[in-house]
């Protein structure tokens, strides 16, 4: 096999051979290669098929702007990354990659037929064709298009890698380690300022790495680079981040950096993270992101072997690889001449330089002449011929009278250059404005929106000298001018679509290689009435591929501008959005995966529940025991047993997750009066009261039992899920409406573990353990709260009941929760103590008609709707929501009211959420009058029970309503929500 390695060219390195595989074939490369440079060294130009037409594609560039050479990078099971740019993939021993978008083989692809019938697939084809019927989109069209298009199969296995992330801070963040970036870093790091310099490539140096001839201060540029990097490495205040893409620039100089750590390693340590996300807050940002060379738009410009001129220069000067034996150059810009001269000096034959411009710098013509290179000015390439690689090109002169007849020129490589586009992506992310610079045919940064400065080529200041000067000055460096020897002038012209003698409707001149968008598509979009580039882009998909149009946006814009006969500024510019290059989900997720995906809050008693075999359910961030199945029990059997045992003797329940707020201060009762609907002033110390809280709009927001521990101290409980928003609403009112009140709020949810004991034997169990509290019915009645000790530990003991049975809620300091639970549980065996979970708690409370906020209310339920007008202190002057309770819609008839339902068939348990109708005989669609909010099997009552919100429900007492369910319509009778012990006698068991 021929090798295209050139001895004596490329960056100095140990020539260590590295074997790799592409499309199942083994090749050899050299350490330091990218996959693209190694393939080119082996003479491989065909690396993939295009997205839509499945045309053969090669390697367009040598960097992250690559639009053609997308491969599947295979690091083993679960580790296949699709659409990786071969030009940025660092080679290592054993690297495996495959081409994409073909079937059955890269050279014989059946779908290539799309190319022949491309007249059937114009711009907007999908929008036009797959609109009808709408339902087909999900099931037929999208899956088909996805399979046919080059997005590759999504991974089906979990990602076996792990990722890390960290916040970093610095005074100066420099993006891009080319000459401008390094000059900036050297200057900025002379003080003690923390400097971070990041570059997407493995090796720092940027364009300098492709410029061995340049000299800085009389020394070769590479020597300047080496010593500069040495200086930076020696400074403690500098962090150098290679292989790090700054993918997003967010508010207040917050930037996202993705650093690749192991993808370039042959055998990475599995403990090492694959990538690291640096979340950087920088006082100042210096963007030294360079510029991207622009391709030229002519027929068949996508044939393998056609690549950017500067990239050929990079392959030669940096990797020591000749991209061909016989190269033609097609340019509208001076810089391609230098590429031609470099290649010529490396003994690559230059077939011709074809320059579309009328006048070319005479110095360049002279240099070409010296090397015997023919320059054809005022000429264009109008076609390229070849199956999988360019063989010859079609060249025409552009005369005043029109385009001349073509002439064929043989070549195996065509290097193109349509000028340079400053990389303003990050500048745009930061909301800096842009201005059109017509001599560059490009947008350049105008006014910054953050503390940021653009230097060098990304600011439209081309050339090594300007890069070094603007970089050093942005870094705060002295204005010492460096002596720089560099090659070329930086002038060029911008053409958009180039003239041709061919029928433009029959050729494909690509603008966007990755999305297969041609000049013809953009012109069609303009003909169909799209005038803004934002619309043209969406209609044609130009610039919408994963490369975000790095090589295509400006050409597309120029073509649209010409077609509209309007200046470019009036056609617009598409918005750049993060990420700059595709970024893995893994690195964005970081540690937020697996067991640290989110917080799971566990109570102190959780370990006991685990050992008792509890089944858990999430309730806000908490996990709570739902039920405790014994062998062979399903949930229904377990809940029936737990309910029965509690009503008959004793149940124990972990209520720790209830929100708790300590309200303290001389104005505590005044504050409670204003926040809750109930009156608090007369609540005695040592007593509890059920509290109901409304939002400003009069609807129920939360509820809970409140105990008064002292004149100036309330122990407030909230629902589990409502705790944060209750505290935050209380704080909001206190800080903004009533700052005059002397009262303070402290979350004590986690201070106390809460053990709820319910059942006729509850008092008997705790009596021997309690000190300092008289537990007798007289001294400690229902709804009393006392402070004392249990098992020698301080407790806030509440006599309350959410089950209708004699009940106690024992608050103990959380670190003692588990040990006291264990003690009570052991002692409770004598009473057949039964642990129960949230499901039994729900059934027990439903039997008593106690609501659960958020289940029996939905944010549109007033106290009266819920049958809880009794909780409103009518004599109070004000409380949150009071005025809303007089709103016309709230006092009007016809509101949904909470009622009890008993099904005609006592064994049928209604579905929660089921809709309710007044009569079953109506025509469909029937009129819905309400819905079921709670529904359970009640073991105690031996039948099903339910609660529902029904229009004017209370007036329907005793009447039947109907619940249409799949298969049958269920009849139920409206009644009270209290199903069990309506007199409340069970609370008073002695």
């Amino acid at each position: 096999m021929t090798t295209f390695r050139r001895q004596g060219r490329g960056r100095p390195r140990q020539e260590k051979t590295v074997r790799f595989s592409f499309d199942g074939k083994e090749y050899a490369g050299v350490e330091g290669d990218t996959l693209a440079s190694a393939l080119l060294a082996n003479g491989v130009h065909l690396v993939g098929r295009s997205f839509k037409y499945h045309r053969p594609r090669g390697i367009l560039s040598a960097g992250s702007e690559e639009a053609n050479a997308l491969v599947a990078f295979d690091r083993g099971p679960g580790r296949v990354t699709l659409n990786v740019r071969a030009t940025t993939l660092d080679l290592y021993e054993g690297l495996t990659a495959r081409s994409q978008n073909y079937w059955p083989s890269l050279k014989f692809d059946i779908t290539e037929i799309n190319d022949k019938f491309s007249a059937l697939f114009p711009a907007g084809f999908y929008n036009k064709t797959f609109m009808w019927p709408k339902s087909f989109w999900d099931w037929v069209y999208e899956p088909f298009i996805r399979r046919a298009a080059g997005l590759g199969p999504a991974p089906s296995e979990p990602d076996p890698d792990h990722y890390t992330s960290a916040y970093d801070h610095c005074e100066v963040l420099i993006v891009g380690a080319g000459p401008a970036g390094i000059a900036a870093a050297l200057a900025a790091s002379e003080s003690s300022a923390r400097v971070i310099i990041a570059d997407e490539q493995a090796e720092f140096g940027g364009s300098l790495l492709s410029m061995p001839e340049a000299a800085i201060d009389g020394a070769p540029a590479w020597q300047w680079l080496e010593s500069g990097l040495e200086t930076l490495r020696s400074r403690d205040n500098v962090t150098l981040l290679p292989r790090t893409t700054v993918f997003g620039y967010y508010h207040d100089n917050f930037l996202g950096l993705a650093q690749s750590l192991t993808d370039h390693m042959s055998e990475p340590d599995p403990k090492e993270p694959r990538e690291c996300l640096h979340k950087v807050r920088a006082a100042k940002v210096i963007l030294a992101t360079g510029a991207i060379e622009r391709p030229l738009v002519f027929a068949d410009n996508d044939l393998p072997g056609i690549m950017l001129a500067s990239s050929a220069q990079t392959y030669l000067n940096r990797y020591g690889v000749a991209v061909g034996d016989n190269a033609a150059i097609f340019t509208t810009h001076d810089s391609a001449y230098i590429a031609a001269f470099d290649l010529s000096d490396a003994n690559i034959r230059i077939a011709a330089i074809i320059d579309a411009r009328a006048t070319v710098d005479t110095r360049l013509i002279e240099e070409a002449k010296k090397r015997g290179i023919e320059v054809r000015a005022e000429s264009v390439v109008t076609g390229a011929v070849g199956r999988f690689r360019v063989k010859r090109i079609r060249v025409n002169r552009v005369l005043a009278s029109g385009v001349s007849a073509p002439e064929m020129i043989d070549c195996d490589t065509l290097l193109v250059c349509g000028g340079w586009t400053p990389s303003v992506h990050l500048w745009s992310h930061s909301k800096g404005t842009l201005k059109w610079k017509s001599e560059l045919g490009a947008y350049v940064p105008d006014r910054p929106n953050e503390n940021v400065i653009c230097v060098g080529a990304c600011n439209g200041e081309f050339g090594l000298k300007r890069a070094l000067e603007t970089g050093a000055s942005a870094g705060g460096g002295a204005a010492r001018l460096l002596e720089v020897k560099e090659d070329c002038g930086w002038s060029g012209e911008v053409f958009g679509a180039l003239p041709t003698d061919r029928n433009e409707t029959r050729i494909k001149a690509f603008v966007d290689f990755q999305n297969d968008v041609t000049a013809k598509d953009i012109k069609l979009a303009v003909r169909e009435g799209f005038k803004s580039i934002e619309h043209v882009k969406r209609y044609t998909t130009a610039g919408m591929a994963t490369d975000q149009g790095k090589t295509s946006n400006l050409n597309g814009l120029q073509i649209a501008s010409n077609a509209l006969a309007r200046p470019v500024e009036q056609v617009g510019l598409t918005t750049f959005r993060p990420p700059y290059t595709p970024t893995t989900f893994g690195v964005l997720a970081g540690a937020q995966s697996g067991d640290t995906f989110d917080v799971t809050r566990k109570t102190p008693i959780d370990p006991w529940a685990v050992s008792a075999g509890a089944v858990f359910e999430p309730v806000s961030l908490w996990r709570r025991a739902r039920y405790f199945p014994q062998t062979g029990e399903d949930m229904y059997a377990a809940v029936a047993r737990e309910c029965k045992a509690t009503r008959e003797s004793l149940g124990i329940f972990d209520a720790t997750t209830l929100g708790k707020v300590e309200v303290v201060g001389p104005d505590a009762s005044e504050f409670m009066n204003r926040m809750y609907t109930n009156p608090w002033a007369k609540l005695g110390v040592g007593r509890c009261r059920y509290g109901l809280m409304l939002r400003e709009d009069g609807y129920i927001m939360d509820d809970g039992v409140v105990g008064r521990l002292a004149n100036d101290r309330f122990h407030v409980t909230t629902t589990t899920g409502g705790a944060p928003r209750v505290l935050s609403m209380m704080e909001d009112y206190l800080q903004t409406e009533w700052p005059d009140l002397d009262v303070w709020l402290t979350s004590i949810t986690e201070q106390w573990a809460v053990i709820a004991l319910n059942g006729p034997n509850a008092r008997k169990l705790i009596e021997p353990f309690v000190d300092g509290i008289d537990l007798s019915q007289e001294a400690f009645p229902h709804m009393a709260a006392r402070e004392g000790r249990i098992c020698g530990i301080e407790t806030r003991l509440f006599r309350v009941s959410f089950s209708g049975e004699l009940g106690f809620e024992i608050n103990v300091p959380a670190h003692y929760g588990l040990t006291i639970w264990r003690k009570l549980y052991e002692a409770g065996r004598e009473f057949n103590i039964t642990p129960y979970g949230t499901e039994t708690m729900h059934v027990l409370r439903a039997e008593k008609g106690f609501i659960i906020v958020g289940q029996d209310t939905d944010g549109t339920v007033t106290p009266d709707d819920a049958g809880m007008s009794w909780a409103i202190g009518n004599k109070k002057l004000d409380f949150v929501g009071k005025r809303s309770l007089e709103r016309p819609d709230i006092v009007a008839n016809g509101r949904k009211q909470l009622v009890g339902l008993l099904t005609a068939d006592p064994n049928f348990v209604l579905e929660e959420g089921a809709q309710i109708v007044a009569s079953p005989g109506q025509a469909i669609p029937m009129k819905m009058v309400g819905h079921v909010t709670s529904s359970y099997w009640s073991e105690t009552l031996g039948r099903s029970i339910a609660m529902a919100l029904v229009k004017d429900g209370r007036s329907l007492e005793g009447e039947s309503i109907y619940v249409p369910m799949p298969g049958a319509t269920i009849e139920a009778k409206v009644g009270s929500t209290v199903f069990y012990d309506p007199e409340g006698e069970r609370l008073n068991v002695i």
Binding site: H162, T164, Y167, D742, W744, Q751, A814, T819
Partner: protein, 192 residues
């Protein structure tokens, strides 16, 4: 290391198990669970601060973010009217009795949150690096000097952070968030 300690047959359980990798195995960074402490959230309006300081003989820091340390009692100023008092358990009882007495003379609030929080000491040369895996603050000495404290976040958990030395930090958080916090630290230490 388990967090269990025994006192009169009842077991204190702070709900935290530290992996060996975090308990001082490396001198670069170590994470240690602080044993049981007494804690109070002390709330007082600025107008009464001086009176409370004098009556309690506690050196209550005045500036948000400031902290004081007297014998074993740390006091952190976390808000305009908010201080976190952390002491050993024995002094906690004394403090509570004193606060109860003073509350009839001065308008302020104290709430016992001894068991609401757990605390960790994170120390070593890589302490800042470890904290910055989840905490977005700039922890360089200039921006976050010794003695500074603040309420902040560590990934999805709210934490209170106090710098006690160049390489020593004190972190408090609600007890149910602690296992999540510890697990994140463990992952971060392992993957670096």
């Amino acid at each position: 290391m388990s967090s269990n300690q025994h006192s009169n047959e009842l077991t204190i359980d702070q709900g935290v198990v530290l992996a060996p990798v975090l308990t001082g195995a490396s001198h670069e960074v170590s994470v240690v669970l602080v044993p049981e402490r007494a804690r109070f959230s002390l709330r007082v309006k600025p107008s009464n601060l001086k009176a409370l300081s004098e009556a309690s003989e506690l050196d209550l820091p005045e500036k948000i973010g400031a902290s004081t340390l007297a014998s074993s009692t740390k006091i952190l100023c976390l808000g305009p009217d908010e201080r976190l008092v952390v002491s050993d358990v024995t002094s906690g009882g004394t403090l509570r009795r004193m606060f109860a007495e003073l509350s009839s003379q001065i308008s302020f609030s104290y709430a016992d949150i001894s068991h609401r929080n757990v605390a960790f000491e994170i120390s070593g040369a890589r302490a800042v690096k470890l904290l910055n895996t989840g905490c977005p603050l700039d922890l360089c000495l200039r921006a976050f000097p010794v003695g500074k404290c603040t309420r902040t976040v560590f990934e999805h958990a709210e934490i209170t952070l106090l710098r006690e030395g160049e390489y020593r930090f004190y972190v408090e958080l609600w007890r149910s968030f602690a296992p999540y916090f510890v697990r994140l630290l463990e992952k971060a230490v392992k993957s670096r």
